[in-house]
Symmetry: C2
């Protein structure tokens, strides 16, 4: 992915301490304060835990792409995604780069970065005045929020200062990509990058961030829906928490619970598992104040409610299952996205060898 001119950019990288060389390099580029003009990604090999050779291969990948694009390497961000602990055969990238055709369409990039993803993922928004925000991402497994947990690239032609970009980006990531969980495992190679080239001129920053968040939330939902083995999107909305951060944490605990995820798969309205997940979330919680509904059907309101189990189970047979929990303690609210846990997840990660 390459822009016609250098872009302002912001970057959030994985918090996994086994972060790959590409993430470390991205952080260094970010710290330099310079602009960014291109991103080169390889899929299939994470180039992580590959020692000195890995650091060299990552830098080489940047240099090769830069030479091809007639840029300095410091304008090129690298990213790798795939199996951990295999030396990166950078000569394959050297051989392939001259054949890459650049065009105005983001689709080939979006498709090239996929690994176990079943579908490519894009979202877009247009601001008043015509500036656009377009985002693409990849990710399907090893997805847990300890930051972006996948590769995500959001580009815009809005003119936004570097300072403003970097100020607002973490917050949007916290409310979108960091609220996605597929399997509680955190990748070593994740990054979420926001680039703006300013071609469309100045915009209202508030409208810009709204558009960016809209795009990121849509991508977050697509990531969760395409979780390895998933048959359903699981959306968990928590209100009444002590703070927004606590609400997000509680929502995530429910979206990540293997027991609740299994129940979602089996259309089992076993709301006791929601109570369990909220109780272990590490946030303020009083079981007698909680209200829980599932697909709009009230199941618990500080006490056991009568409900039609058959109807509730039928309501769960949907593309999206919505859990709403009000903790009854404050004004905090937040949403998390996950998916059901199926035999398919196990098969993808066990029976098909890497």
């Amino acid at each position: 992915m390459v822009a016609a001119t250098p872009c302002n950019w912001a970057f959030v990288g994985t918090l996994n301490k086994a972060a790959a060389p590409c993430v470390a390099r991205g952080r260094r580029l970010l710290a330099s304060g310079r602009a960014l003009q291109a991103v080169v990604v390889n899929a299939g090999n994470a180039n992580c835990a590959t020692g000195e050779q890995g650091v060299w291969a990552d830098q080489r990948m940047a240099e090769l792409a830069a030479a091809q694009l007639q840029l300095v390497p410091e304008l090129v961000l690298t990213a790798s995604t795939g199996v951990i602990g295999q030396p990166l055969p950078v000569e394959k990238i050297a051989a392939a780069l001259p054949n890459i055709r650049l065009g105005p369409d983001i689709d080939p990039f979006m498709e090239a970065i996929m690994t176990t993803d079943l579908v490519p993922k894009m979202a877009e928004a247009t601001l008043q005045g015509g500036a656009r925000v377009v985002g693409v991402c990849k990710g399907s497994g090893m997805i847990a929020p300890n930051m972006a947990t996948m590769l995500a690239y959001i580009v815009s032609d809005a003119a936004i200062s570097q300072e403003e970009l970097r100020r607002g980006w973490q917050e949007v990531v916290d409310r979108s990509f960091n609220q996605v969980t597929v399997d509680a495992d955190t990748s070593t190679n994740d990054m979420a990058v926001l680039l703006t080239n300013g071609a469309a001129g100045p915009v209202d920053p508030k409208a810009f961030w709204q558009a960016v968040e809209q795009v990121c939330v849509e991508l977050a939902r697509k990531l969760a829906r395409d979780g390895e083995g998933a048959t359903k999107l699981l959306t968990v909305r928590v209100t009444g928490a002590k703070s927004d951060a606590e609400a997000r944490k509680a929502a995530l605990a429910v979206a990540a619970s293997p027991l609740w995820k299994s129940a979602v798969y089996g259309n089992d309205p076993n709301w006791g598992r929601i109570v369990m997940a909220l109780g272990k979330a590490g946030v303020a919680f009083e079981v007698d104040k909680v209200r829980i509904s599932l697909q709009g059907i009230p199941l618990y309101a500080g006490r056991v409610l009568e409900f039609d189990r058959t109807r509730a189970s039928q309501a769960m047979q949907a593309e999206e299952v919505l859990v709403e929990a009000d903790l009854g303690l404050g004004d905090g609210q937040g949403v998390a996205w996950g998916c059901d846990l199926t035999e398919g997840y196990v098969r993808i990660n066990a029976l098909y060898t890497t």
Copy 2:
């Protein structure tokens, strides 16, 4: 379970904030400083998130058992395990209690507390001088260490003071039951209880705690091996951490990783997933200093090692899979126990409705 005389006892209960009435009651009894003489357990219904009725039913269960045993209710600990959020039909317990036959054998108790467990779990040790330590526990799913994460009862005829019992118990639980993970979900009803009646007379406290830890570790391994859907025991031994606590945390992160657990099921020596799990564990970690071996076969030593993938995969086809990771940073060591993640886990928790 009833002792001939009141016992000294120690108790660790779940940290889940949706803790059931039995756990809250156990904490109150503990705080009272009084002795304990009996434990009454029901399996199949957790009596959790059941409001005022649940608190009443729990107290009623204690009173019924106490009347049957001709004890005061304060000498009787209650425990419930099973589905969350269903009113406890305490009249069934009232009807059943008169038919309970008491005998010297712990087996009927051990079997009665089982839920999705496939096998009953007991371990024992004998101290010099003849004092014995016998432990039983139940647990198969909703097992993650945020304390005992199951029901466990360890009894001994050693004479140990109440103060000494309560001083040492948490530490043993931290090194045994708290190092077991099946699915990262934390039950609302867990407790680990240690009782001594002193009939065998005074013992060396150090020898006593060694025997208790031996029994608890054996039970911990049995819990992990009997994890829902498990085909293998997964043992993770971490050395070279900054502290024992960090080693335990790192070991647990590997034992709990859905991706690594899936690989264990599929006999896939994909050690990159071990690196990933160590990196996200939240402990001091430098990828270049780590050494990893699997079933004794070195796979990584700060750099990618050559190894025979076929042989490594064959070595994984065993009842127990052993991961050893040396972080190369200090003297801390710790062990965690888990199991593989299989389609069976999903089926048990999804396709069979609760």
